[in-house]
């Protein structure tokens, strides 16, 4: 294993210390592992809290700030944070207006956030939860734990965060978060496995001419293994799965993210975005807004996820609202 670390068990603490040193606009509670806005949450504002395993940076700590999250609680690498940590986060940012938990749909995250919501309720904090489950590689059936939550998390956090910043109440913010999730679909492929610091070995072996199709963001193998294909064909596969689940017609407006999984050069992400843009243009679908870069990563995995949100006018205007976080910043 080759990593720029000191010791596997120290990675999270040291990375949090690095985040604290690099971003004065954030406050890091090292003991409880909670990242909040240095300025605190404005009086009366609904607070957004997210979290999940580490290894997906900049998610979630990189999205704490004006117009997005109020707090993030990072767990160990690929491991959900614990309920106490989430409770700490909720307590740190609740202004009395209530807290929205933004939870990616994984059994661990769901169970831990559910316990945290109970604990918060006992402390008199009103909590709403939105489950993000956008990954169409996994069907939502009795045969699975439901769809995974991946790239749409960024869309949910940005758009619901903007609405909260405008003073909307908890029910309204939660409803918008759910609408964004319901309008979003993702699909990912991996060209390499990733290596967690604790395991020290790649999660799977992948021959030089093959890729994993339909992967999540935790280094697990995908739905199937295929021969590596040109970017255009990979995009066609991803969009086919996305559009089969969320049909789009001419003049529909979308927000599109082409997201690197951590080990993919940006130049390749632009090649992929070019294919996505061409394919959607071919259907008359409008890419109204877009992100190209590393937003929801899977450590050092080479690969890409594509997320498409069918956005209405409200979502687009909230997307454009000011945001000031380490990883997403505009209008400020």
């Amino acid at each position: 294993m080759k990593k720029l670390i000191n010791a596997p068990e120290a990675v999270l603490d040291e990375a949090l210390a690095g985040i604290a040193a690099a971003h004065r606009e954030l406050t890091v509670d090292a003991e409880n592992k909670v990242i909040t806005r240095a300025g605190g949450t404005a009086a009366g504002k609904v607070a957004l809290v997210s979290g999940g395993g580490s290894g997906h940076e900049p998610l979630h700590g990189g999205f704490v700030g004006l117009g997005m999250l109020d707090a993030a609680c990072p767990g160990e690498v690929f491991t959900s944070p614990v309920p106490g940590q989430m409770l700490n986060a909720a307590q740190a940012v609740d202004t009395g207006a209530g807290v929205l938990f933004i939870v990616k749909n994984y059994t661990g995250d769901v169970l831990n956030f559910r316990m945290a919501a109970e604990l918060a309720g006992e402390e008199g904090i009103t909590v709403e939860t939105v489950l993000v489950d956008d990954d169409v590689a996994v069907q939502d059936s009795t045969w699975t734990a439901g769809r995974r939550g991946t790239g749409a998390t960024v869309f949910v956090e940005k758009i619901a965060g903007a609405l909260a910043e405008q003073g909307a109440d908890l029910a309204t913010v939660a409803e918008m978060a759910k609408r964004v999730n319901a309008a979003s679909r993702s699909f990912a492929v991996a060209l390499t496995a990733c290596t967690t610091p604790a395991s020290g070995k790649p999660g799977f072996d992948l021959p030089e001419d093959e890729m994993e199709v339909g992967v999540g963001i935790h280094g697990e193998p995908g739905r199937r293994r295929e021969k590596l294909r040109p970017a255009g064909e990979i995009v066609a596969t991803a969009l086919k799965a996305i559009l089969a689940d969320q049909p789009l017609v001419a003049r529909d407006e979308t927000i599109v993210m082409v997201n690197g999984l951590g080990g993919t050069p940006l130049i390749e992400l632009y090649v992929v975005f070019n294919e996505v843009a061409a394919a959607l243009a071919g259907k008359g679908v409008v890419i109204a807004r877009s992100l190209v870069g590393n937003y929801v990563t899977s450590l050092d995995m080479a690969g890409v996820s594509i997320t498409v949100c069918k956005a209405d006018a409200d979502m687009l205007s909230l997307w454009d609202a000011p945001v000031n976080t380490p990883a997403l910043r505009w209008g400020v």
Partner: protein
């Protein structure tokens, strides 16, 4: 089962998890996210540390403390599931010594907790597939008048059989379910740690 045995059991689990950490991680790497070994290690080493500072009055106090510590240190799916289970096991055991029959009932509460929280059923390729047969074997031995050691030995054997039986299953719950048919052919990490937990119980009880 008494307070000291309960504590020794938890310590034995911690030792077993330390020893089998890489194996658990390797199993989780094949059909999950390669953290089950370190999750279990983090949780049970925290539990033994927490118990070291505790003067418990009841068997239940040991196990509830263990469960609470797991919940507050593990994270992931296994944290709430095992944490909730140990808390559920501990809750009824509010005496310094409990009978094998009382312990069997408590173990059943633990399984109920896992099933309620995780909404998984036997055959879904989870820890339940080791836990459920272990509990059945334990109960059967107790019903037949066996002592804790004999019941725990039967439970450990059953858990290991259950664990091995997860290999041909297709996962329906947890992270492995995302793999669909590709989860077939791999042993479930959680069922494997459950087998370690019952084996630790058997060894602890037998040593007594």
């Amino acid at each position: 089962m008494d307070i000291d045995l309960a504590r020794t059991w938890v310590q034995a689990i911690a030792a077993a998890v330390d020893q089998h950490k890489d194996h658990l991680t390797q199993l989780d790497s094949a059909i999950g996210d390669a953290d089950h070994g370190i999750n279990m290690q983090r949780g049970f080493s925290a539990a033994t540390a927490a118990l070291a500072g505790l003067e418990p009055d009841t068997v239940g106090a040991v196990l509830v403390k263990t469960g609470t510590t797991l919940i507050s240190t593990v994270g992931g799916a296994s944290g709430p599931l095992y944490g909730g289970a140990f808390r559920a096991i501990g809750k009824p055991l509010d005496a310094p010594t409990v009978t094998p029959g009382q312990f069997a009932a408590a173990l059943a509460d633990g399984l109920a907790s896992v099933r309620k929280l995780g909404a998984a059923a036997p055959g879904d390729k989870t820890m339940i597939d080791a836990y459920a047969p272990a509990l059945a074997a334990f109960q059967q031995q107790v019903d037949a008048g066996a002592d804790l050691a004999a019941a725990a030995l039967a439970a450990a054997d059953a858990a290991e059989n259950g664990m091995r039986a997860t290999t041909p299953m297709q996962a329906r719950k947890g992270r492995a379910s995302y793999l669909g048919a590709r989860s077939i052919g791999h042993q479930d990490p959680g069922a494997t740690s459950t087998a370690l937990i019952f084996r630790a119980l058997a060894e602890t009880a037998v040593a007594r």
